[in-house]
Amino acid sequence: MKNILQALADAVGRDYVSDQPEEMYFYARDPGLMPPHQPDYVVVPGTVEEIQTVVRLASREKIPIVPMGAGMALTGLIIPLKGGIVLDMKRMNRILEVHEKARYALVEGGTSQGFLKSYLEEHHPRLRHSIPDSPATATIAANVMIHGQGRLTQQYGFNSDMVSGLEVVLASGEICRIGSCAVSPDWFSKGAPFPDLSGLFLGWFGATGIITKIAVKLYPRKKMRDVEIFLTDDEELVPSMIYELTHTEMVEDINIFVQPRPMIFRGNHHIALFFTGDTDEELEFKRKLIWHALDPYIKSKDGGFMGIPPVMKPTLLDMPQKSVSRFADVKKGGGFEYSGPIILVEKYPQCARKIVELAARYDLGYSGMARIIGRGHSMMYGFAFTFNRADSEMMARTRSALCEISLFVLELGGVFWKPTVEEQKMALEKMDPNTRALMKMIKANLDPLGIMNPGNWEVA
């Protein structure tokens, strides 16, 4: 194995490769609940060519290779299930181009959400991207790889719908460009009007290729942004409230949360509505339409807008919203995981009742949170639990609760978001056999040796 370590060091430089136990310990796990598994090497490449060299080496030696962003997906997707190389993408963090007028940014495959956000704020103040609420170190490529959702998701869909081009290193070590950039210097479309090949990579968790460059669409950043929170105690009404709200087309982002603590939140569903404007008039116009959309519920006393104290607003308007990370440490010991199925908005009541039931049965701290995707086309319902990593019994209870959720979600017609390996198996089993066969064919062709993030999306 010494010669492999040396070969990796030759590829990326001695400082950027390791097989030392302390690093292997760290790269064996993520902050979620999946059991750890050690890699044999960690490599931190700085260029596309270095990645090509490492992939060719892995291919030649049949060593598994697992690309990693910030490792925040929480469902074990960067745990090297079969050992091998973890390819930490953090050094590939350059912003290569921002096309102001065509509103897209081209970045390297390890660029973080926080970096792009602050870069745009400084250099392109009229542009923004759909930032998720994950810690700011989370990477853009990994987020679309798992079909993440961000602050513009209610308007424009999954963050992966906002991709406008990819550069990928295939398992063979070849570079492939996906989208308009394959025939043009411009990165404005990930597929149309040609066949959209981005689906060969997005959602595959690195099991078909490694993203080395990615273009994402940018959107107008208005001068003002505000938030209103509508409360209801009746979960059955939430889907129709969302229908009315999305009909206005005035809201930029809709999140719903329900949690027992602090006291102010107990017992209610909170529909947080974010909207923007360049002038007071524009903002007020939107606010008025949003409020009017829910007037019937106010009249029937089924819901109302809460008064948000000015001191609370900055926290709510923060991007990413740190309250999610804070919740992650409620039980101390830094354990946090959520199962976040993508499901119809009309299933909100069942999901909301399920989380309360499970939290009570397993005695867990919980937060239910939904993000509306598109104009009510679906939602991500996050069943989030917080646990103390030093308390193995509490972790076991959390695991059992999440297991129950997986079964519950499939039965309800939902599909898993960023599924664990177990959930991937469940989904493949339930999947239409022809679709499953197609996936198998794609995987076999793009990764004939089975070295790319093995264990993930493996059709038996």
Binding site: M263, R266, G267, I298, K299, G304, G307
Partner: protein
């Protein structure tokens, strides 16, 4: 002592029907006013029970001591008529729930009660409160709960208020200066009217401020500015203290602009209106109120209740009027805060 028993005969013979005639949110003539109040007292239905926006003003309009607002509130509760959406009421009831997170300073005979408005923890620093601080209490355990009359929930007040009184009792204090009209009203009149014994003297903080400013008279530099005063709904529960607004302004050289919506005619800050009834009424009331301040040349808008300030502060600032709390205005007058260094809203 305040009696909350209601005498229908007083309404039948009322020469003015002021409680409803003067109401800024309902359109009622004198005859109808008497009729509706009698109906309400007899337990019958009345549109007033549906449409009253809980501005509390009728408590002040009624000069015959008949407490129309408390009657409306009790009847609403008996009939299960909701004022606010259920979720809003629940949220507010949750907020007031004691959680053992209260703060108690170095308690002496006289104590300052900050309710559980964290804004006040900052405001009471400085010379104005020097002869009280650090004798203070803060937290849900010391919160009067009277706000729930907005939600027609007197049951929770009756349930929680005795516990609050017990908390004060356990401190052994003789006199409590209350930083909010509702709290003052709760202990000065409401609790005794409910038959609860209050083992201390309740003092309104305006009265305290006025006395204190007189003591500090040498330090006062007249501010020479024009201000509008945003009178809160809860001030209607202790109208006898309203004169202190003018008294204080006179002491510190602030001219209260003679605007339409002041004193008895004050308009709600619109916070409770938006919580309970939605955009249109809240927006209309707010717009009229702000236009009135602008029209009469107010440079500052002086707040008494932090909730009003939260609701209106940013809005008045957009109109070029500086939002300021009464305490900060007084601190400015004794040179503690520069006009530019006031607490931002």
């Amino acid at each position: 002592m305040v009696q909350l028993s209601f005498d229908a005969h007083l309404c039948k013979t009322c020469p003015t029907g002021d409680c409803l005639v003067k109401c800024q949110y309902l359109d009622v003539d004198r005859e109808k006013a008497g009729e509706e109040m009698v109906k309400i007292s007899e337990g019958k239905d009345s549109f007033v029970l549906q449409d009253c926006v809980t501005c509390y003003a009728c408590e002040e309009y009624c000069k015959r001591g008949n407490h129309p607002f408390y009657l409306i509130t009790e009847r609403r509760q008996e009939k299960g008529i909701l004022v606010a959406p259920r979720a809003i009421t629940r949220q507010w009831v949750n907020i007031g729930e004691p959680q053992g997170k209260y703060k108690v300073g170095k308690i002496r005979d006289k104590v300052l009660s900050l309710g559980f408005m964290p804004e006040y923890l900052e405001s009471v620093k400085g010379e104005l409160f020097e002869d009280l601080m650090p004798s203070y209490v803060f937290g849900q355990e010391f919160f009067c709960n009277v706000v729930y009359i907005h939600f027609a929930d007197t049951a929770i007040i009756k349930q929680r208020l005795p516990r609050v009184i017990d908390h004060f009792k356990s401190l052994g204090v003789r006199e409590v200066v209350f930083m909010h009209d509702e709290c003052y009203g709760a202990f000065a009149s409401l609790a005794p009217a409910y038959g609860m014994e209050v083992p201390f003297k309740a003092v309104h903080y305006f009265e305290y401020l006025y006395q204190r400013l007189r003591d500090l008279r040498d330090k006062i530099r007249p501010l020479r500015l024009k201000a509008a005063y945003q009178r809160p709904c809860s001030a209607r529960l202790c109208p006898d203290k309203h004169h202190f607004v003018r008294d204080i302004m006179n002491l510190i050289g602030v001219e209260l602009v003679e605007r339409q919506y002041q004193d008895e005619n004050a308009l709600c800050c619109s916070g409770i209106l938006s919580l309970c009834f939605g955009y249109d009424i809240a927006h209309d009331v707010k717009a009229r109120n702000l236009a009135d301040m602008v029209k009469h040349g107010a440079q500052y808008c002086v707040f008494n209740c932090p909730a009003c300030q939260n609701t209106l502060g940013a809005e008045v600032a957009k109109m070029g009027i500086r939002p300021i709390h009464m305490i900060d205005l007084c601190r400015m007058a004794i040179g503690e805060k520069s006009p530019n260094g006031v607490r931002p809203t």
